[in-house]
Amino acid sequence: MKKSAGVLLFILLLAIVGPWLSPNDYLGTNFDALLRSPQLAGMHLFGTDDLGRDLFVRTMLGIRVTLMVAVVASLVSLVIGVTYGAVAGYVGGRVDAVMMRFVDTLYALPFIFFVILLMVAFERNFLLIFVAIGAINWLDMARIVRGQTLSLREREFVDAARLTGVSTPRIIFRHIAPNLLGIVVVYVTLTIPQAILVESFLSFLGLGVQEPQTSLGALVDAGVNKMEGASWMLLIPASLLAVILMSFNFLGDALRDFFDAKHKQ
C-alpha cells in the first residue's frame, strides 16, 4: 500500500511541480525541434511532438487532467451510487422497483448520444466530461451496492438495530454502508481506469479535452499515429498510464483490507 501510494504521490507531485521547473511550456511550438527523441538539449526530457511542443510538460499536464477526471468522476459515482443503491436496497419494495427502473432507463440511453446532447445543450465545457463519466459510472455502482444491501439487510445485526429503534438513515449509513466498503473500494479502483479510458475515448472523438489542452489518453492517441519513427510519443504516456492504473489497483486492494475491521488489531 505504501509503495503504490508513494508512486501515485510521486507522479502527482511531478505533474504539479514539473511544468514549473521546465523551461518549456505546453503551448509553445518549436519548428526547429520537430519529433525530437528524449534528450537533455533544450530540456526535452520526453522529446517533442510533430509540432515541436515539449512532451515532458504536455505529459505532466495530461497526468493532471487524467487524474482529475478519473478521481472526480469516481468520487461522483461513489457518492451518488452508494447512496442511491443503499437506499433502494434497504427500503425495498415499490421504492426499490421505481428507483432501479430509472437506472435501467438511463442504461438504455446510448452514451455517445447522451454526450452529444450535453454538448448541444451546453457549450463545450471541461466540466461536461465529469458529468458524462459520472453519469454512466454511478449506474453500475448503484446496482452493485443495491445487490449487496439486499443481502446485508437480511443479516441479523440489521434486525438487532431495527429492534433497538435505530433510525433508517442511521441503519443505512452506520450499519450497512461500512459493510459495503470492501466491495465499493474495489469497484472504485475499477472505475478509475474505466473513467480514464472513457475520457481518452471522448478526447479522441473530439468531444473531450480540447487542444491545446491534453490528457494521457489524448497523448496516447497522438502517439499511436506516430509510433513508427517516434515511438517515445506512444511509449512514455502509455507506460505512465499503465503505472498509474496499476498503482490504483494495488492501492484498492490495500484499502479494502484497511477498511475491513477483520484486519485491524
Binding site: E156, F157, D159, L163, T164, K262
Partner: protein, 581 residues
C-alpha cells in the same frame, strides 16, 4: 491387529500446534467416538488421516492404515485408499454433494473411477445401496438432484456414497449436527445398522450421541488427547478434570432440577397469531397459524420444535420484524402492531431479542463499545459520552465481561464472549421481556452453562420474563418454567416443564423426548425413532399437521384439526390424547 494406528500425530500452523502428540488405534469393526469442544483438534485429526489438510499445515507423526503408512504414500495411492477403503460422511451433505450431478451419477462415478463396476452393473449396485440406506422411492431419487432431497435424505445419500465401496473404515464428522433431532436418531440408527464389520470413527461435540453407540471414546482438549477408554467407564468414572466438566455440562432430559411453574401476572399475550410469507407464484407460505400463548412475569417460557416449526417466525412476528397475518399481541394492556419502526419507543425498549449466531448479530465493522452503547444513543440521547460509557461498562460487567473488550471488534471475541456482548446489548435498556432465539445453540457445553446461569441470575434479580426458543430439550429442561411445543406452524402442547417431561401428552412431544440423546451409556435408547421428516410448509397435511408421522393417527386426525384442550395439567392439541396416555 489394529486397522488404524495413529502415533504421535502433530498438526501445526505457523508453529501453533492444533493437534499435539495424539496417539490412538482403531481395531477392525470397532466403533470409536472422538469428542471435544470446538478448537479441540478433532476435525484436524480426522482430516490428517484423510490427507485433506490445507497445504500450510505442518504434519508429523505416523498414520498406519492396515499396515500401510499413509504419510509416505503418494497422492495417487492415497487417493485410492481414502476413496475405496475409507468412507467419509461430512456434517453438511449439501456442501459435500455436487449440486449439478444427479444422485445416481454421483454414486456411479465413484464405482467407475475406481474400476469397481461398469455400466448397468454400476447402476444396479447404486440402486441396491440407495435402497439399503432407506431412501424411499429410490427409483425416482436416482435421477434427482441434491437440492430436491430433504436434509435427512441427503445425509442418507452421503452415507450411501461413503459405504458403496465397502470400506474398512467409516469416518463420520458431526454427521447429524445439521439435522433435526428426530431425523438425527434415524441417521444414527442407520449408521449403526449398515456398518456391519466396518470400523466407525464418529466425531462429535455431543456426548449424548456417542454414549449409546461407541464402544470406546477419545476425549480431546486443546489439541491433546486427555482421556481414552471404554465408553461406559469414561461416563461412569471420568478421570480428567475436563472430561468431568464436559459430562457435567451436557444437558440431560432425564435428570437434574426442574424449575417450578411461576404464578405471576401475564405480561405478554399472543392471541391467535398467524405469520406468513408471500412466496413466488401465488404460493402462500404460512409459517405460523393460529398460535395463542401467554408469558408471565419472571417466567421463562420455552418454545421447542424442529426446523420449520415456526418458532422463530412467531417471535419475529410479535416483535414486528416480519408482518403478522392475523391475531394480536398484547403487552402491558396495549396491543402491539405494525412493523417495529412504527412502534412506541417504550414498547421497543421493553422487548429485546438475542440471536442464535452472535457473529452474525453483531455488526462486524463496529467496536464492542459502539454495539452495546447504541441502544442508549437511541433511547437516551441526552446522556453524555462519559455517562454512556459508564453504562456500557456496567452492562458488560453484568454479563461477566470486562471493560478491556470495549475497543475490540466482534471477530476478536470468542463465541461465548460474543454472545455475552449480544446479551449485554439486549439488557442495557433493562427490558421487561427478553427473547432468546436459539441463543445457546452455537456455544460449547461449558460456555453454554455459563450463559444459561447468567440468564437465570438476571431473571432472579430483575424479574425479567424470557421466551427461550430451542430445539434442545435438555437445555430447555434446565431453564424453562413452562414449555410450548410447536410443529409445522402449529402449537401442539403447552405444559409446565415438570409435567411435560414426566407425562408428555402429545405423540409428537413423546417422539421428541424419545429421540433426544441421553449422555449416559446405561440409559437404554427409548423406542424406535419417529419415521419420516417434517413436511413442506407449502403443502401442510390436512387435519392434524402431525398425522402423517403419528403412529396413533386415525381418520379423525386426517380430517379435523384438533384444538388445544386441557388434559391432565397440560394443554394438548390431539384428538387421541385421552386414548393413548
Amino acid at each position: 491387529m489394529s486397522l488404524l494406528k495413529v502415533k504421535n500425530l502433530r498438526v501445526s500452523y505457523d508453529d501453533d500446534a492444533v493437534v499435539d502428540a495424539i496417539s490412538f488405534s482403531v481395531r477392525r469393526g470397532e466403533s470409536v467416538g472422538i469428542v471435544g469442544e470446538s478448537g479441540s483438534g478433532k476435525s484436524q485429526t480426522v482430516l490428517s488421516i484423510l490427507g485433506l489438510l490445507p497445504s500450510d499445515a505442518v504434519v508429523s507423526g505416523s498414520i498406519v492404515f492396515d499396515g500401510q503408512e499413509l504419510m509416505k504414500l503418494s497422492d495417487r495411492k492415497l487417493d485410492r485408499v481414502r476413496a475405496v477403503r475409507i468412507g467419509m460422511v461430512f456434517q453438511d451433505p449439501m456442501q459435500a454433494l455436487n449440486p449439478y450431478l444427479r444422485i445416481g451419477q454421483q454414486l456411479r462415478q465413484i464405482l467407475i473411477q475406481h474400476e469397481l463396476a461398469t455400466g448397468s452393473d454400476a447402476d444396479a449396485k447404486v440402486m441396491a445401496m440407495l435402497n439399503r440406506v432407506g431412501l424411499p422411492d429410490a427409483e425416482r431419487q436416482f435421477r434427482a438432484f441434491p437440492h430436491e432431497l430433504s436434509g435427512g435424505m441427503r445425509q442418507r445419500v452421503m452415507i450411501a456414497s461413503a459405504l458403496i465401496c465397502e470400506p474398512d473404515l467409516l469416518i463420520a464428522d458431526e454427521p447429524t449436527t445439521a439435522l433435526d433431532v428426530t431425523v438425527q436418531a434415524q441417521i444414527l440408527d442407520l449408521l449403526e445398522d449398515l456398518r456391519d464389520d466396518t470400523a466407525l470413527l464418529l466425531i462429535t461435540h455431543d456426548l449424548g450421541i456417542v454414549a449409546g453407540r461407541c464402544e470406546r471414546l477419545l476425549v480431546l482438549e486443546g489439541g491433546k488427547l486427555i482421556e481414552s477408554g471404554a465408553t461406559v467407564s469414561i461416563f461412569s468414572a471420568p478421570q480428567h478434570a475436563h472430561t468431568k466438566k464436559l459430562l457435567a455440562a451436557a444437558p440431560r432430559i432425564d435428570r437434574g432440577d426442574i424449575l417450578p411453574a411461576v404464578g405471576g401476572r401475564t405480561v405478554l399475550g399472543v392471541e391467535r397469531a398467524s405469520v406468513g410469507y408471500a412466496g413466488a407464484a401465488k404460493e402462500q407460505l404460512v409459517a405460523v397459524s393460529d398460535v395463542s400463548l401467554s408469558l408471565r412475569e419472571a417466567e421463562t417460557l420455552a418454545i421447542v420444535g424442529e426446523s420449520g416449526s415456526g418458532k422463530s417466525s412467531l417471535v419475529r412476528g410479535l416483535l414486528g420484524l416480519i408482518p403478522m397475518r392475523a391475531g394480536r399481541v398484547v403487552y402491558a394492556g396495549e396491543s402491539l402492531h405494525g412493523p417495529v419502526q412504527t412502534r412506541a419507543a417504550a414498547q421497543r425498549r421493553d422487548l429485546q431479542l438475542v440471536f442464535q449466531d452472535p457473529l452474525s448479530a453483531l455488526n462486524p465493522q463496529m467496536r464492542v463499545a459502539t454495539i452495546v452503547g447504541e441502544p442508549l444513543l437511541v433511547h437516551e440521547p441526552k446522556q453524555s459520552a462519559a455517562q454512556r460509557k459508564a453504562r456500557v461498562i456496567e452492562a458488560l460487567e453484568r454479563v461477566g465481561l470486562t471493560a478491556s473488550l470495549l475497543r475490540r471488534y466482534p471477530h476478536q471475541l470468542s463465541g461465548g464472549q460474543a454472545q455475552r456482548v449480544a446479551i449485554a446489548r439486549a439488557l442495557i435498556l433493562k427490558p421487561r421481556i427478553l427473547i432468546c432465539d436459539e441463543a445457546v445453540a452455537s456455544l460449547d457445553g461449558s460456555v453454554r452453562e455459563q450463559v444459561l446461569k447468567l440468564l437465570r441470575d438476571v431473571q432472579t434479580e430483575t424479574g425479567l420474563s424470557i421466551i427461550f426458543i430451542s430445539h434442545d430439550l435438555g437445555v430447555v429442561r434446565s431453564i424453562a418454567h413452562r414449555v410450548a411445543v410447536m410443529y409445522l406452524g402449529r402449537l401442539l402442547e403447552v405444559a409446565d416443564t415438570a409435567t411435560l417431561f414426566s407425562k408428555p401428552g402429545h405423540p409428537y412431544t413423546r417422539a421428541l423426548l424419545a429421540a433426544s440423546p441421553v449422555p449416559d451409556p446405561l440409559v437404554a435408547p427409548r423406542g424406535a425413532p419417529l419415521k419420516g421428516e417434517v413436511p413442506s410448509l407449502l403443502t401442510p397435511p390436512s387435519g392434524c399437521v402431525f398425522h402423517p408421522r403419528c403412529e396413533f393417527a386415525e381418520d379423525a386426525c386426517r380430517e379435523k384439526r384438533p384444538e388445544l384442550r386441557e388434559f391432565s395439567g397440560a394443554r394438548v392439541a390431539c384428538h387421541r390424547v385421552a386414548d393413548i396416555s
